[in-house]
Symmetry: C2
Subunit: 273 residues, 2 copies
């Protein structure tokens, strides 16, 4: 469950990005994130924990500064003990935007899960701070995170591995590099375990800007595949054997592109203008 908000304080935007977002020409997603994080007056804290490359954090610092953020700082955390550091927590408390880079979402969840850093990200979100993440940084956002799986369109019982995520939303399960890595089957498998969530598959260079009202807007050059299992009439997930395809009857499917919106509460999609 997301952290509770206080009266008259709106939750911040939660911005999962499908990976490989444009950084130089037409960086629509990062520009919009910089604006939500306060632009000239803002300060972005970058968490490069998912990545094992030392230059990932510094590269995003430079990028956000080029895009006009007031200041940006990279907070390298490579071990759980570092995620309790008071200096780092103070940085997160000061930030007006938090950005989680790509890499391996299991690295993110195993290093940050349950630490002071994870708790701080959650309460900063409840206090109105915008939290964005790309690729692995997007995968970790929901309560139920897709940790891994195999490609292909057809769901099977063992097609996906779920793990607890950061819990910035519990309405969605999020997959990324969606079109590029053929991930419909694992998203369907994740949904069929317990069809209370909506599934979103983010293409590369495509983001969902999830507002405090639970409505998200699509930004970027690809599509967001929305699978709504709320009207599911039948699932054979309970009986299917390992490797066997699973029957799912009565899913709703929307392909949303730049400017389209989806209300995760009413489960209604609307075309952009």
């Amino acid at each position: 469950m997301p952290s509770p908000t206080r009266p008259n304080v709106a939750r911040g935007f939660v911005v999962p990005i499908g990976g490989a977002e444009r950084k130089k020409r037409n960086p629509l997603i990062l520009e919009r994130f910089v604006a939500l994080a306060g632009g000239n007056d803002g300060r972005i804290a970058i968490l490069p924990t998912a990545s094992e490359m030392d230059d990932t954090g510094p590269r995003y610092v430079e990028l956000f500064e080029d895009l006009g953020i007031g200041s940006a700082v990279s907070l390298p955390i490579n071990q759980r003990a570092e995620a309790e550091d008071e200096g780092l927590i103070a940085e997160l408390e000061e930030a007006t935007g938090i950005f989680m880079t790509g890499g391996n979402q299991l690295r993110l969840s195993t290093i940050l899960g349950g630490t002071a850093v994870a708790k701080t990200i959650r309460h900063r979100s409840a206090e109105g701070v915008t939290i964005a993440g790309t690729s692995a940084g997007a995968a970790i956002m929901p309560e139920h995170m897709i940790a891994g799986g195999t490609p292909g369109a057809t769901p099977t019982p063992n097609k996906v591995t779920l793990a607890p995520g950061l819990g910035l939303t519990n309405a969605l399960v999020i997959d990324q590099h969606f079109r590029q890595r053929d991930r419909l089957g694992r998203l369907l498998a994740a949904l069929s375990y317990n069809p209370f969530m909506t599934g979103i598959g983010l293409d590369e260079d495509t983001a969902a800007f999830i507002g405090p009202d639970g409505v998200f807007e699509v930004v970027g050059s690809g599509a967001v595949t929305v699978v709504d299992p709320s009207k599911l009439e039948y699932s054979s997930m309970g009986q299917a054997m390992r490797g066997e395809p699973v029957s799912l009857i009565g899913l709703r499917l929307h392909i949303l592109t730049h400017g389209d919106r989806y209300d995760t509460v009413s489960r209604k999609a609307t075309a952009g203008s």
Copy 2:
């Protein structure tokens, strides 16, 4: 449009198969086809035109004989002129089942399209003969055939090439090798051009046995992905630029496996027992 039937004559089953159907252990699909084609008393005519390999036809002759068909014959046709041959037409008129092999569906459509062989297949279907086809042989069955396209889950205006098919059904557009070749995007693109059809994506070793009542049953080890665009609320296909993703709001999606059924008239899916 399928050929009209005469009073009291039921149309034959139309059986598109997703390719790579099992031939030795548990050949459920081919066994069911052999039974529908009359079993011991039946005669199957094989059209290996899609394939450029000489042994494709003879291999299926042997296979169907092993599975207990009364007799089987391969009708090699490699040029349009051969598709007017009276001897071949007589073979098709005698057959109780017709089987089209895999290969290249454009080879099938360019060689057979508009010939006496194509017309005979159509009227034999209306007379009750079962027509099966695998891979390219499945693709060519509907009125609107998927001739080619590019892989990936997200539809774009140029993701798929359509061509006229044999017209054994006009309720469905059929894609094959579905899970194995990541073809959701091209199926969605094909549907979005004109959303009056239902789209089915057949995994390998998976078939739809379409009965004279328009209800099909799934047979095989994979899944049939059914996309029903009849409640489509919005499509941007009309405005999207080449290469740009297309918005599609309000699709229905079913993943059907062995024993499940779909009614192409009422557009209702039912789980098997």
